[in-house]
Symmetry: C2
Subunit: 556 residues, 2 copies
Amino acid sequence: MRDSPTQGPAGPADTAGGSGGMSRRRFLRAVGVSGGAGVMLATMGALDLAVTSDASHAGFSPPSPADFSLTGRAAGSVVILGGGVAGLAAAYELGKAGWNCTVLEAQNRIGGRSLTVRGGDEHVDLDGHRQRVGYSEGQYFNAGPARIAQWMVTMDYCRELGVPLEVFANHNADAYIFREENGMKPGQPVRRRAAQSDVYGYVSELLAKATNQGALDQAMTPQDKEKLLAFLRDFGNVGNRISGTQARDWRYLGGSQRGYTAWPGAAGVPFSRALPVPPLSQVFASEVGQELTFNVDFKHDHLMFQPVGGMDAIPLALAARVGPGRIKLGCLVTGVTDGPDRVAVTYREPDGREQRMESDYCIATLPPNLMARVPHNLGPAVQSGLTTFRPTSAGKIGLEYRSRWWETQDRIYGGITETDMDITRIWYPSHGFHSQRGVVVGYYNTDEKADAYAALRPGEREARALAQGMKVHGPKYRTELLTSFSVAWTRVPHVEGAWMDIPKDIDDPVFAPLVNGAGRVYFAGDWLSHVVSWQHGSLTSVRKVVSALHRREVSI
Amino acid sequence: MRDSPTQGPAGPADTAGGSGGMSRRRFLRAVGVSGGAGVMLATMGALDLAVTSDASHAGFSPPSPADFSLTGRAAGSVVILGGGVAGLAAAYELGKAGWNCTVLEAQNRIGGRSLTVRGGDEHVDLDGHRQRVGYSEGQYFNAGPARIAQWMVTMDYCRELGVPLEVFANHNADAYIFREENGMKPGQPVRRRAAQSDVYGYVSELLAKATNQGALDQAMTPQDKEKLLAFLRDFGNVGNRISGTQARDWRYLGGSQRGYTAWPGAAGVPFSRALPVPPLSQVFASEVGQELTFNVDFKHDHLMFQPVGGMDAIPLALAARVGPGRIKLGCLVTGVTDGPDRVAVTYREPDGREQRMESDYCIATLPPNLMARVPHNLGPAVQSGLTTFRPTSAGKIGLEYRSRWWETQDRIYGGITETDMDITRIWYPSHGFHSQRGVVVGYYNTDEKADAYAALRPGEREARALAQGMKVHGPKYRTELLTSFSVAWTRVPHVEGAWMDIPKDIDDPVFAPLVNGAGRVYFAGDWLSHVVSWQHGSLTSVRKVVSALHRREVSI
């Protein structure tokens, strides 16, 4: 972080989550001395209102107009390169203190990768594929980010901006796992519920067996063993009493959590469990267990959330606060020249005219692969940092169906089916349950699988996605389709990548010129965070840069 | 099931989920013979529209007016005892075919245990405790059932009735586990996320150890072992490569899924994992693992759902279809007399007058403990069946808070904290995220824990619930409270129990007179199902009884 040269070293408490607290305390002390306790208390109150109450992201105090008015300084100007979530959030936060921000966005829309696609939209990719979106009224497709973990700072922005949230169904026990390579036949996916029961069941059987044989006596006390076995009984549905004895049978034989082919209901009406239970070898060979562990990842565990009506609610709300006059669309950045007192940015307007803008500061939020192409005088270390990032490939298709067959026929309300096919996974919508239509994500793949779809024309992508999805869902996957839209993020103009692959730790010295900023130019984006590809990474990066820039100005 | 005496035995396909299909086929055959193919096709179309498309509950064809009009018969009359979900659903389904139904409900409201409490409501219990509900506008508390599993037929009713659904957050990795008896101190609950990581981690470490030692060579092939270890690596976050060698370290040392005290964010900003990882003995001794297995139960696994705005949306929608003229509130059933051609029901009107109603059939949906007190001539086998059920105790309190501190401070958006205290658990609301206020369920307990709270006055229940909840959440749990409402289901007039404990299998012969019906009297409710305490049990029971009653009439 590029601290103001006049600022002393920050204590550990201040560095934890941005260093806004330090200068605020020093500032308050100064105000208290010159204006008396009354002014100090009033100022504290005003600042405290702006401090987020969330403990996990404490430490960020947004820039405040009082920082200028009470010190007799004036807010300066900032040119922000890129109108995605990072650029918009930077303009929003700096605008709170009265900074004069201008956002330059090359596309004709804001949001960057936070793209929600709706009927009537038109998108043209770098290969000239033009898609006019045919979705019905009210339907949408989050072509970029689509889910928020509750610990993420994105939640705080939704609260602050008044963006309503609903649960994003990241996991559904009734969704499927389908692994062709492991011998599953078309039309025979397994329910996640059954896979989980079998994996947990056999794991429990094996561990109980080893425990009872004494194989783990070195690792556990008798009390540990007793407690462990009690857990395994519940967890794996094993260890039932053998009739007439006190011994327990630790074999896994299936159980109610596998699900039913006819669910239990009225007395006198037979019900039947989903059987047979596959043998241990088959369960482990099928590798279904690996598909279950996704949900114990800290970014994907329950619960997750989505903005009601589409992920672009976040950039739209940010842009509304920034104000349309400060956001210039269709403006391609062509050069950045840092100087001792000002930074000059040149850009090409939609009509082709070159413009030059001088500002006090610049925040560059373009993807590093694109920023690396912009002529600049920031030095080889900056360029070396920018070219170290590698854009990755990801693709998505949004299939609009005339009926919600996944709910009425497959009984899947939201959640994700994981496959080993090139579509990787199928997402069912987490909203509009029981309504007429819905958009299913027919693939969300990465790397070479995404490249394979990127190489196809949109119609070919649809055909391929349908052929694969039919192996899970059968003919209705094709016959109920209304229309589709697909995105290949490497082929999106002015984006050219899904997110960055970072071959070294982001705190490696090679990135220091970007992390700390160069002269009057700062850099921000999810690529400058520990949480790449998430808005959280982008927003925390912005908070840090905004704090540094603002503190540099007010604490001189 | 009491089949019509003239009906032949049903084939296996017909018995799976109610026997409506059989008589429908026979009926269609009859129509086809007498009316020609045109009539047959038209009739099939009309019937097919009414068949639910959900495979798991296929087989139920609701009574149709065509069943009468095409056979020249007239729909008869049915008196239905009880205006809960069972009674209302019975009237709704029979009403589809034109049956003249009357619902007798002792309370001044419909819904029975499907009770949603709102500001301004007033409830008086059997002990004379009068609670006037002080919730703010828009707030509500589901005092009875509150969640629906997606496989349940309740989902189909919501679709058919146009009751909008949203996700019910049954599991949240960021909610807590708090076990006093296992040594956790007030203010030191553990996040479910950390507990899960630790339990899965040590289970994986132990099982990997046993596997690598050869202790399970009898149970697994070398390939099984390899696949199992690959799973355990992901599942337990164990098995990292030891630097410089090809060996793996299978010790569990924690990992990112435990969560963070400072979450990862911007580059250059430190973050810190939630540490230290408790040792194996402590993890198993704390019994946190048992709290995790709740979510692999087939009734509680992801995803679950709730009606938008309150669970009473279901009985209200049913009642709207039945029509208010057919539902008599405040009418207490005082006798049931079955006869050869009619059944007579006596009841006391709100003004105290005794009334007598003769109908073709009766469906009794009162809880069996209350039905057992109603004088009847249905014989000792019926009475013996009724008195075999044992009402259970359950209680809930809905605490309205002036702020949603669980979201802004604890970062918990929905889900459930499990404890070993007498409150058992705390539910956070699954809707209204980021809004001003919210209702937290401060206890949902059963058996002796519920009895303990039932014995208290409402104010005392609140004080006790707050004292317990503060051990998890601290002083804000008391200071932010606005108002509360509590229910003790054993003390609710005309209910007197949460659900039934059934000491034998519901298919035991002692219950046959209830399951099959007695003369012209049928019985329905969740207590006559394999899914006691769920609306699904009630609704499937009703479907079976309605099918039997209707088929008996149309197939004579």
